[in-house]
């Protein structure tokens, strides 16, 4: 079976799931309203569906696409099935940047929080790479250990930064550390949507080269791949996109681990398939997870990052066992 046919089939199936998830998520919620009412011109129904729920659902889709495709990219670049923006500490770096920007008031400047999140994500990626370079990718658990320590460090920084502000509310820290898609603006949707589209386009244009990196640096080089250039661009793009996702919605972990792994179980292990299929699958997963977060125990909202962690940890343990076999 050809890879291209797999891709077309995969995109068709996952897109259908995504569209259905979006429709379902927009129509479900604490207040019962229907599309039919909205289409008939009911103002209240329109407001709830299109001004409150739709931006949230679209943001969920964009965040999911970014995180899952970043996971697929990190896993391929690092040749490590456990790599994920959260586990590596990239999301943590971004959240730390965003939280500190909020604390010092830079959040009021236009673009202040996203820029801080970008910087945090980039800083964390550079740290992880510095650690990964020294020990190559021989031992997948070493990288994960580094990510674990980085995450603990970033969580501590977030909590410290917020504690130092008089009268501050530590639930703000929870927003960054456990993720939430509540009350997004259309600007948020636009930011992450653009990040998703641009990062996917750039990584897809290099997919033929990136996939060869699974055989190692020298092998790829001897097949005509400019490995350094490809690596730098792909890491940069995946980190920045992660920064955009975290700037709007905090840390939503494990999406980049669960989705590429599920895609690999069904389709082949070629990055050219893995990237787009992970993006669509990730979008659907976060849309559904966010729906569960707000609809499972109404009217209270569960922390989205906690839900994805519940799903992700079993995946992580299975993959860890396989990687260290």
């Amino acid at each position: 079976m050809s890879a291209r046919r797999d891709l077309v089939r995969g995109i068709a199936v996952l897109s259908l799931i995504l569209v259905l998830s979006i429709l379902f998520a927009v129509s479900e919620g604490a207040v019962g309203v229907s599309f039919i009412e909205a289409l008939r011109g009911d103002q209240r129904a329109r407001m709830i569906l299109f001004d409150l729920r739709l931006p949230r659902v679209l943001l969920a889709a964009a965040v999911g696409a970014v995180l899952a495709s970043a996971g697929a990219t990190f896993q391929t670049l690092l040749r490590n099935p456990l790599a994920d923006p959260f586990i590596l500490g990239v999301s943590g770096g971004a959240a730390c940047g965003a939280a500190i920007a909020t604390v010092i008031g830079a959040g009021r400047l236009p673009g202040g929080v996203p820029i801080a999140a970008f910087s945090g994500a980039l800083g964390a990626t550079l740290l992880v790479l510095a650690i990964a370079r020294r020990h190559a990718s021989v031992d997948p658990t070493r990288l994960i250990l580094a990510g674990l320590v980085l995450n603990a460090f970033f969580s501590a920084l977030i909590l410290l930064a917020l504690s130092m502000v008089r009268g501050s509310d530590l639930t703000v820290a929870l927003h960054w550390m456990m993720g939430s898609l509540a009350n997004p603006t259309w600007a948020d949707v636009l930011l992450v949507g653009l990040a998703a589209v641009i990062s996917l386009a750039i990584c897809a244009s290099m997919a033929g080269d990136i996939r060869l990196l699974v055989f190692g640096e020298e092998d790829a080089k001897s097949r005509g791949v400019s490995t350094e250039k490809v690596r730098v661009i792909a890491f940069l793009v995946a980190s920045l996109a992660t920064g955009a996702a975290v700037a709007t919605s905090g840390i939503i972990g494990f999406v980049g681990l669960i989705v590429p792994h599920a895609v690999r179980m069904i389709w082949k292990r070629d990055y050219r398939l893995l990237l787009p299929l992970s993006a669509i699958g990730g979008a659907a997963l976060v849309v559904l997870a966010d729906l569960a977060a707000r609809a499972l125990i109404p009217p209270s909202e569960l922390p989205l990052g906690a839900l994805t962690a519940m799903l992700g940890v079993p995946f992580f343990l299975v993959l860890l066992r396989r990687a260290t076999r």
């Binding site: 050809s2 033929g208 996939r211 055989f215 020298e218 092998d219 080089k221 097949r223």
Partner: protein, 256 residues
């Protein structure tokens, strides 16, 4: 296909001494060349220079009249195929999918393998006696099986020059013999150039048209196996006390 090396030198960043020191030779016709030498004599580094994995610190390598740094990397990859000494054993990929990636230098940015590419990959597996491995995963194979699949990956790219860094390592005796026959066909019938590294002097002498001997980063001998394999040369280059006997027109090295 012609390849010329002019005083090629390579020093690894931060290393106290050079790994390849002023090596010059010329390949003008399809032939099978075995590079021999003790551990650390610079054999693998030389292969990496030829495959463009490394760039010479000094000197030039010219392929078909053009300095290899001036070649488009993908064009070069179509001409020269390289089997590294060590391949990652943990790639969770089916053998056939891995071999298909050998066609990558021929694919455009957004194009996919054609049925012909897949056919060439299957053919390459068959030539390496690895058809039966097609649907098995690389990370579930023995070292020798994986070696054959990676060799098929190189052949699938149909390169004019084939660089093999220790293709023999991990192969059983029967597969070593098959490999020897395959390499002779590649050179004699398909007019390709094969350059390989092996520690097995007898195997190399049996199949090579020409042997290059490296010692401490320098090229110390270059000639036909019968010219190279003398007790004096072996002692000088390998530190090995050995007798050389001749049988059926072939030279055999017998360690004392």
């Amino acid at each position: 296909m012609s390849i010329e090396l002019h005083s090629v030198t390579y020093r690894y960043p931060g290393a106290p001494s050079v790994a390849v020191d002023g090596v010059s030779f010329r390949i003008a016709k399809p032939e099978l060349i075995a590079i021999c030498g003790a551990n650390g004599s610079g054999k693998s580094t030389l292969m990496k220079l030829l495959s463009r994995v490394l760039e010479p610190s000094d000197g030039t390598i010219v392929m078909e009249g053009r300095e290899i740094g001036a070649w488009d990397p993908r064009d070069y990859a179509r001409k020269v195929g390289y089997l590294p000494q060590e391949t990652d054993p943990l790639v969770p990929m089916r053998a056939i999918d891995a071999v298909i990636t050998g066609r990558a230098p021929y694919l455009g940015r957004f194009s996919w393998e054609s049925p012909q590419d897949i056919e060439l990959a299957r053919l390459a597996l068959a030539r390496c006696d690895a058809s039966g491995l097609a649907d098995r995963h690389l990370d579930e194979m023995s070292g020798g099986e994986r070696k054959r699949v990676h060799l098929a990956r190189v052949l699938a790219g149909q390169p004019q020059a084939i660089l093999l860094d220790e293709p023999l390592a991990a192969l059983d005796l029967a597969h070593a013999q098959q490999l020897a026959r395959l390499l002779r066909v590649l050179v004699e019938e398909e007019k390709r150039t094969v350059i390989l590294i092996s520690h097995d002097l007898n195997w190399s002498a049996a199949i090579a048209d020409r042997m290059l001997v490296l010692r401490e980063a320098r090229l110390t001998a270059d000639g036909s196996p019968s010219a190279i394999l003398t007790p004096e040369l072996i002692h000088a280059n390998f530190g090995l006390e050995a007798d050389v006997i001749e049988r059926n027109g072939r030279r055999w090295v017998l360690p004392r």
